[in-house]
Amino acid sequence: MSTSAITPVPFGRRLKRFMADRPLVPLIILLVILVVILQILRPGIVNERWIANTIKFAIPLAILAGCQTMTMLTGGIDLSVGTVATVSAFIMATQIVNQDPVIAFLLAMMPAVLIGLINGIGVGVFRVHPLIMTLGTSLIGTGCLQVYQRTVIASGAKIPDFLAWLGTGVTWGFPNALLLFIPLAALIVFTLARTGFGRLLYAVGDNERATRLSGVQYWQVITALYLTSSLLAGITGLLYIGLIKAPSLSLAEPLVLPSVAAAVIGGTSIFGGRGGYTGTIIGALILTVLTTLLTILQMPEGARRILFGLIVLFVTAAYLRIVEER
């Protein structure tokens, strides 16, 4: 339409424009590159089993990263997802011993609802910064879990067969966890793109004052958001215990910071208003593959962590540079 479209644009700029319009493309390219490097370092490692295994481990991370994506869209963050997942998993594993599975499930989800509500009210009504709010509830949740652990120590724990099947099972080469993840991911993507709630998440993160003037009640959005985030985290906990099969007091904690990293690598801005879930899923895959890659390099743990951190920083910076115009 404008004259600049007529003048020929150099290839580099065109490529950049293309990347900026489709931010998923550079992420997918990076993922493929990582897989190729892995194959070169350890020929034959990339096979059907490896892929299924990678996806299995990426899914819990991807769901937790979904919590981060949604909260980050509003300019927030949810650091309590690790604790919520752990608590749900732990309660499920201990209650299933004596209780009906449905009752055990409901009991396992109760702390998730409670922590989500407290987070939402704290952030939405009392305006506590999400970082502090969710860190606080996370610590409280961990403390409560320790108390709870003493009371049930005698009854023992077991992993329900269904969760083990869902967490580790593979059917025709596809991990069973996809049965849970695909509908969940589709729901998140649809919510963000095509529902009023999704719109509000972006709008609140972009300009809260403008949403207020448009009649949006901030506390409602935020409470619903943190409740959703916590519920997702609780479900992740159940899936994760089926995968790890060893309930512990810090089961899902190691996933918290990678979940933030996955969302950021996936192109969601921690300042709010920008991002999406598809990028986050690929971000989670990238982090999982990266972990495998660093594991087979047989480096000492310290060096591995240093490298992991450096790569995350580099990838994020490079990605933003490619995707952001100007």
Binding site: S2, R194, G196, R199, A203, N207, R212, L213, S214, G215
Partner: protein
């Protein structure tokens, strides 16, 4: 020209300047040449590229092409600091003091000498400034004057003023214009961006006119040059805009018995007290006030943004409790704030911004009926003729188009009452005309509009009645027929109607129609 380099060689000479934002060319081929001792107007309709050119000249952004000479030397201005060193200093439309610091700390940040700053502040008509005041607590109009004083204290060779008098009350605006004029007399140069012909003809020596990112003309300011400038600015689109007498369709519909809004004894803290008036269906009521007389509080209270400390608001005869904007919106009252950045989610699309109120209520959080939303949004976009070339992100639209989006939102939501707070601030003539027309049409369709404007000439074009607020009190209500500019100005200063008093050039009824070069300062 080049044979006689002094004193007529330009202080600043930019040519061939171009800047693209993605596919949108903000500037194609702009040039600007400023001589020492002149006040040079930079003019152009909205989106013509004035602000972009200024940002390039002051190092805020970098150009894609072009050459900038300062005192004949090619300079590559890469940052605001570099522009400063080269003697170029801007005063932008948005206040630049850091809100959480006091004035003194703000001065230290830029290394501005305090005593000259104080002197300029006094010169500019602000007698009681405490340098320990936090910038956040200072009213917008004063902040802008402080920005100017800070720039003046640094004694730049070239001062760039972007819409300096926008949102300034008349008394401060006059002082500012005087000071700017004297800068020119002192041999410095001022680049003056404004939409107000009165000021331009009173102040400026020459004008550079931009259109669609290109310099289309440089004219000397002589009496009667306005037509020429308007022609240049608008190209072939509009030859002449003139306000005709209101057609029957635009006239207010006959007033119904019950007022749409009845405000009784409204009080907001110390800012507003005992304000009572009615707003009827089918009318545009103008609010006239100098800066900070309580009009902000009045609008905010009616919009449900702040809670009044006393009095009642009745909507359609029913007492209404407006404790959140949602209450006002449910009652059909929409608020268009003066500051666009308050109303828009800048990174979101035009469509999402217009559709924002649709999703606000809890019951509308589900799947969006995309087709219906699209129809409503497109209807509003068409009605306001929003330029949607850069609709992916609202921040890429020009100011005028952004303003249209803030209004389109409530057209799409079909609000019955619209509270417009200075909607034409700092936007181009063409868009202003469109907004006037729209407001009249809304009234014609039986809607009601409360319209605050900082430009008095707009009152006659748009309003049916005038509500005057002074010192937080409602001092007068009168029909538009009596609202010529001198009458409005007197009323705005709280002087009784009918009394004759000369109060500066802006009260001169001839000033806005036929500005003459001696309009400033010659009246007692």
């Amino acid at each position: 020209m080049t044979t006689n380099p002094l004193p007529q060689s330009p202080l600043l000479d930019a040519s061939g300047v171009a800047k693209n934002y993605g596919a949108v060319a903000a500037l194609r081929n702009a040039s600007l040449s400023v001589l020492p001792g002149e006040v040079h107007a930079l003019m152009g309709a909205n989106g013509a590229g004035k602000s972009t050119l200024v940002k390039i000249l002051t190092g805020a952004i970098s150009a894609n092409a072009g050459r900038i000479l300062i005192r004949g030397e090619a300079r590559d201005i890469r940052s605001p600091a570099a522009a400063r060193r080269a003697g170029l200093l801007p005063v932008y439309q948005e206040p630049s003091l850091i809100p959480d610091l006091d004035v003194l700390s703000n001065l230290r940040l830029t290394g501005t000498p305090v005593e000259p700053f104080r002197a300029w502040v006094r010169e500019l008509g602000i007698a009681d400034l405490d340098l320990r005041d936090t910038a956040r607590d200072i009213p917008l109009a004063v902040l802008r004057v402080l920005d100017l004083a800070r720039a003046l204290a640094a004694e730049p060779d070239v001062l760039l003023l972007d819409e300096m008098t926008a949102a300034l009350p008349a008394n401060l605006a006059e002082k500012v214009l005087e000071v700017v004029r004297r800068q020119g007399d002192a041999g410095r140069a001022v680049i003056f961006i404004s939409h107000r012909f009165v000021e331009i003809s009173a102040l400026c020596d020459r004008a550079t006119v931009l259109r669609d990112g290109e310099t289309v003309g440089v004219v000397d300011i002589v009496p009667g040059v306005e037509e020429k400038i308007v022609e240049l600015m608008l190209g072939t689109r509009i030859v002449k805009t003139h306000v005709a007498a209101r057609s029957a369709a635009e006239k207010a519909v006959s007033a119904p018995a019950r007022p749409r809004l009845a405000v009784r004894n409204l009080r907001v803290g110390t800012k507003l007290s005992d304000v009572s008036f009615d707003l009827r269906d089918g009318e545009v009521a103008g609010v006239v006030a100098l800066e900070g007389q309580g009009q902000d509080e009045l609008f905010a209270a009616l919009a449900g943004s702040i809670r009044p400390s006393g009095g009642t608001i009745e909507v359609d005869g029913q007492p209404a409790k407006l404790s959140h904007p949602i209450d006002a919106i449910r009652a059909g009252i929409a608020y268009v704030p003066g500051d666009r950045s308050e109303a828009l989610a800048m990174q979101r699309s035009v469509r999402e911004n217009i559709a924002l109120p649709f999703s606000a209520a809890l019951r509308n959080w589900g799947p969006i009926p995309m087709r219906r939303e699209r129809a409503k949004v497109l209807g509003a976009i068409e009605r306001l003729q929003i330029d949607t070339r850069a609709q992916g992100e609202v921040q890429r639209l020009s100011g005028g188009n952004q303003q249209k989006v803030t209004i389109a939102r409530w057209i799409a939501a079909d609000a019955r009452t619209i509270l417009c707070f200075d909607p034409t601030r700092g936007i181009d003539v063409g868009t202003k005309q469109e907004i006037y027309k729209l407001l009249r049409e809304l009234a014609g369709h039986g809607k009601s509009v409360l319209f605050y404007t900082s430009e008095l000439e707009e009152v006659q074009r748009v309003c049916d009645r005038v509500i005057v607020i002074f010192g937080g009190r409602l001092v007068d209500i009168f029909p538009v027929e009596e609202a010529d500019e001198p009458a409005l100005m007197r009323a705005a200063y709280g002087l009784p109607r009918g009394a004759k008093a000369d109060i500066g050039i802006l009260a001169d009824p001839t000033a806005s129609d036929a500005p003459s070069s001696d309009a400033l300062g010659t009246k007692p």
